[in-house]
Amino acid sequence: MAKITLGCEPVIGSLIPSKKRDYRVTNRLQEGKRPIYAVIFNFIDSRYYNVFATVGGNRVTVYQCLEGGVIAVLQSYIDEDKDESFYTVSWACDADGTPLLVAGGINGIIRVIDAGNEKIHKSFVGHGDSVNEIRTQALRPSLVLSASKDESVRLWNVQTGICILIFAGAGGHRNEVLSVDFHPSDIYRIASCGMDNTVKIWSMKEFWTYVERSFTWEGSPSQFPTKYVQFPVLIASIHTNYVDCNRWLGDFILSKSVDNEFVLWEPKMKEQSPGEGTVDILQKYPVPECDIWFIKLSCDFHYNAAAIGNREGKIFVWELQTSPPSLIARLSHVQSKSPIRQTAMSFDGSTILSCCEDGTIWRWDTVATS
């Protein structure tokens, strides 16, 4: 953690649970032997709010949460390359509302799966190394961002299969990019972070015509004039180690390193001089035993709460938007001991899923408190 100036200290949440809500384990699945790196609910289309996808090894699996803790397997996809190891998955959708799954991993090939027709839609070859995270633009769900080990972030149009922009170059990341996220309302703005310990905020305002062109492009996708965005609008040095997850919370950013906590901060851009600017660290959310990298947090649809797992298989559910932050619950189970790589909170936060290094998926549901 970078040094904080006196009088600018963040508010730190207390680890005593408020017990506002409590969760119980209602189901446990053993998907396979390989680690599951990602789990995510479909927030893109209201029809599928209870559908979630996981990736682990060379598999992408689609499930549905039913009442009474029941989980149903709906679809399963296997990459014929046994050496593929998917790290990330995101839901997207076509212009006509067809649900799409976008997955990426060690091979660096982004797989766009048409879940409505149960077949591969497109494969994007372009990244020079593994893909660490894929995120979808909620306002335009055919736009996805991918963060890669090749030190770049790329913006893709899954509908037309075009790589529109590459965020890399002179001002780009200096090591693997681990996480990336779209600003929830400012469609031009994205944030990325990675192994160079920085969080970078980028603007694609000047390049937006290319984004629009990608929707109407009729030529071959490889002929598209892909542009490099070389300079971010802000480089934030908040952490002193790998930054493996960043998410926008309105105009603020949640980011986490390997310091047993995640932090909320406000980027303060200088409009005249892009690249410069300051950050104001507002709040800290402690997460004990969370000191290994590649652990990602998840939020419910309204960003009221965030759930994050730790190295020992426990989950911390934080109320995000209160000041000071309050811990809703600390979830633990005697058999959950494997590191939790990612969690997924359902639409209203009543269900939490966690996927673990040992290939298990856990379902937690709120207990009605009388």
Binding site: V62, G128, L139
Partner: protein, 707 residues
Amino acid sequence: MEMQSPKVHSLPSTTAGRSESPDDSTNAKLQEATSTLSQISKVIDSVKKKVDADRCVYIMKRMKENRIKLAEITKNHHKLSVERRNLRIINGDNIINLLEKRQKDAIDMQDGVDISSEEDEHVSVVLLGSGIPVKNSVRPINLPEMEKLPPYTTWVFMDRNRRMTEDQSVVGRRRIYYDRNGGEALICSDSEEEVIDDEEDKKEFVESEDNIIRMTIEQLGSSDTVLELLAQRLSRKPCKVKARYEALVSRENVRESSKYEDTDFNLNSFLDKDLEAAQDSLDNLFCRRCLELIFPAEKNCTWNIKDDENVPCGPHCYLKVKSTPNHGSKDTDFPSNSHQDYKYWRTIEKSLFEKGLEIFGRNSCLIARNLLCGLKTCTEVFNVLKCYNNNLSSQVNNITNSQSDSCKVESNNNMIKRSRLLRRRGRIRRFKYTWKSGGTHSMRKRISDKQDLPCRQYNPCGCQSTCGNNCSCLANETTCEKYCGCPKTCKNRFRGCHCAKNQCRSRQCPCFAANRECDPDVCRHCWISCGDGSLGTPSKKGDNYECRNMKLLLKQQQRVLLGRSDVSGWGAFLRNSVAKHEYLGEYTGELISHHEADKRGKIYDRENSSFLFNLNDQYVLDAFRKGDKLKFANHSPNPNCYAKVIMVDGDHRVGIFAKEKIWAGEEVFYDYHYAPDQTPAWAKKPGESGPKREDMASSSGRAKKRA
């Protein structure tokens, strides 16, 4: 910050005395001192508490504002996600997709409704309770295998070498790399504290700190103990805290005295600086090669340009004043008056005026308009100009010229020295590189495998007359070039060639022999034709023979294609067939120092892919993130190409040339010429054993590409 505020010192003295009452017994003094200390601490604590409370309120407010905004945003997201359900229906395509079907099936199954499945052998969905393995429970859908790309790091194309920008340096920075094989993170830094130290110096005071400083000093005064304790708390230097307080007070005074002036605050402080300070960054950017355009020797003539246009430059132009007869009588008074005026000019105005003289000569219109716009009118400048003795001015100018030149060179050197010093602090401590390569140098490509000295970087000298003992070029053992300050007759100059018939293609050409490209500015007969001749032809020199030794300069390169190598990873291929010794293209990259290259090389060596190329005694080329396609040309002990460092326009550049006839579509290889002791295993010739111990000790080379 230097600010004028007479009030500052009187303010704290009243309160400062309170805590320092004189006493006779030393014991009591000591007690006094400790109680004073604790008292100060208490005050600071209470101030801090108040600041903290304000901070909490502020954060709460910001969180609330953000919450309200975010609620609107998610409401919109929700609306959109609900609308997407209807997209298909609107499109008139009302087929339920498979995902929806499966969803429905699952619900039906849970409700106990029998699902009529078309595929009999496989159920459409499976309900899972605890403990049921998911694998193979539903029929998986295969994703056909795709051929993946050879790995690469995203790079940007550069058509010429560029100096590394300061922010790209890895020296003194903490880097953490992940070792895939060991599954561990590797920390590489010279020293952690060093990095933090440097940051501390730059950090600006923020509002909360200002508040703490102001409130504490207002209560306790600014005695040394108070300042020290404050500084300790703020982890800054006491003198800086004091300076900051003074700045705060003076700013407040200014604000109180007049709101109007407050807006001018920044401008005023800027105007109080002298020109050199104001142009600080300009000096750093100074380049002898660019100065060529405003070289003093040539400038002399522009000084004599008369005010050829007798058109007034504005309402305050001296021409207007002159033309009015009333003022004509006063003309004689001007010098004395203006001399008085000049005394009251601000330092920056004076130096701007002097600079103006240098640039525009005695032309008040141009000086006023270009340099003193908004500060002085043309008439004012003219008056000063008049009293500015012609003799004196030329003398002064000559001095300032030569001074500014040497100054600039010096400041350049200073800058380099300074930054080196800064870094050296880090180097004293042991490298924290956690692997064994910590002690050795990195692999770099080189031009040849001979142990010859690398060529020397050329820096133009600023000599005004024939280069003597003080000449930087002579000292550095480089020849003088067209960018040097010395006259063309300088003995140390490279004279170019007089070739005609052999078209500078062999070692008979002095340029070619010296590994230089011909320069039309210097060589006597070197020229090339442009276009199809429809726009006229250049004056043909030397019996119509075009020069063939300017390929890098003119970018007369071959089309290079990037593709999957037949050997490993990526490779560079040729689009068209080329003859022996044909120029293929340039190997471009970032120009970095050897020190920097060693730091970067540690990581590259570990990844076993290095794009470092030894250029000369000062610079190494790094094509890792910036370069061109030729960076992907692979190594071969029996290559079809060779690399050559060539001097082009005073710069060293790397050209890749064909060693033999190469057919279209063939892959390009050249020998990386790694230094014998740094050759990676894959680049070793078969049968070649590792270096002997003595070799390792004696060789100064590092594993870089060499040509």
